[in-house]
């Protein structure tokens, strides 16, 4: 069981990385783009806008945490 857990953890860390919200956000954004495209809308702007918003949220949230740790 330990090996299975270690294997699963390795792939989680390899693909998802430091911030799981980024991986989750990418899945949500791609699904939303796909669904809207199927309904006939050309939402080319949705993914770039979502990616920038997500990156900014992740980076500034990490910055706040690190500054909080330094003060603490």
């Amino acid at each position: 069981m330990g090996h299975v857990r270690a294997f699963a953890l390795f792939w989680w860390d390899f693909i998802v990385g430091d911030d799981y919200r980024i991986a989750l956000g990418v899945v949500v954004l791609l699904t939303a783009t796909d669904l809207l495209s199927r309904s006939g809308a050309n939402v080319w702007w949705l993914l770039p806008l979502g990616v920038v918003t997500m990156l900014a949220a992740s980076v500034f949230s990490a910055a706040r945490e690190r500054r909080g740790q330094r003060r603490g």
Partner: protein
């Protein structure tokens, strides 16, 4: 060669070079402290394992329809790219320690020295450390080569970019016989993060059924836009950091 093919080779070369530098640091530390025999056997076994992954994944990807492949590959590149870019932005803003190969080399060398030497012809500690270093650092390169290559229809070109990086880094290691601490690794990671994020956005959206304005020209807008926005984020973080401490080298 088209502009996107050149960008493909550049992206794969830079990503491969960064990972190769990290793997080489571990292998040199093992070789210097535990002996080159086990270190090189570990490198060989690691490369063999990577070849098996390529042989298994490469043909499997060609069997998937292009739109589904672009969606999956775009998503994977976006997750990888955003992860690299996030770290690179935090490092450039002084909020995360810069990656430092000289420090990593010292840490790995100390660990290798402290580990007991097993009886027998093969030093299993040295072999395992070297094997894991090559396999783990190489796995990301393999994913990037396969995803970029299969999407762009140029696995050969992508492999060429990776091979060029292997030759350049190995050549440099043989010449200096020390960790490559002068390689601007953090800057390279910033560039690779921008490229992976841009390609991931472009292919991911195409795979989801989007038609980009200007078709392939959109990529020529996405890459500089991603770079500019990332640089702006670094500037904003530095401005708000105020008295932020300087990064301590060594942490990954």
């Amino acid at each position: 060669m088209t502009a996107s093919a050149i960008l493909l080779v550049v992206a794969v070369f830079l990503a491969s070079a960064v990972e190769m530098v990290e793997a080489a640091t571990i292998v040199v530390a093992v070789g210097v402290t535990r002996g080159w025999h086990s270190a090189m056997l570990g490198v060989g076994a690691g490369l063999l394992a990577l070849a098996v992954v390529v042989a298994a994944l490469g043909p499997a990807l060609t069997a998937i329809p292009l739109s589904a492949l672009r969606l999956a590959v775009g998503g994977l590149l976006l997750v990888f790219g955003l992860g690299w870019l996030r770290k690179a932005i935090l490092r450039a803003a002084g909020l995360k320690a810069l990656h430092n190969e000289a420090e990593t080399f010292r840490e790995q060398r100390e660990l290798a020295r402290e580990a007991a030497v097993a009886a027998g012809r093969l030093d299993t500690y040295g072999f395992t450390l070297s094997f894991k270093g090559v396999l783990l650092e190489g796995l990301e390169v393999v994913f990037i080569v396969i995803t970029f290559g299969s999407n762009q229809g140029g696995i050969g070109l992508a492999a060429l970019g990776a091979l060029a990086a292997v030759v350049v880094v190995l050549g440099a290691v043989v010449v200096v016989r020390a960790p490559l601490s002068r390689v601007p690794e953090n800057t390279m990671k910033f560039a690779v993060g921008c490229l992976l994020t841009s390609f991931g956005t472009f292919w991911g959206a195409e795979g989801a059924g989007v038609t980009w304005p200007g078709a392939d020209i959109a990529l020529a807008v996405l890459i500089p836009a991603t770079l500019l926005i990332s640089v702006a984020m670094v500037a904003a973080l530095r401005r708000t950091a105020g008295t932020a401490a300087l990064p301590q080298p060594g942490a990954a």
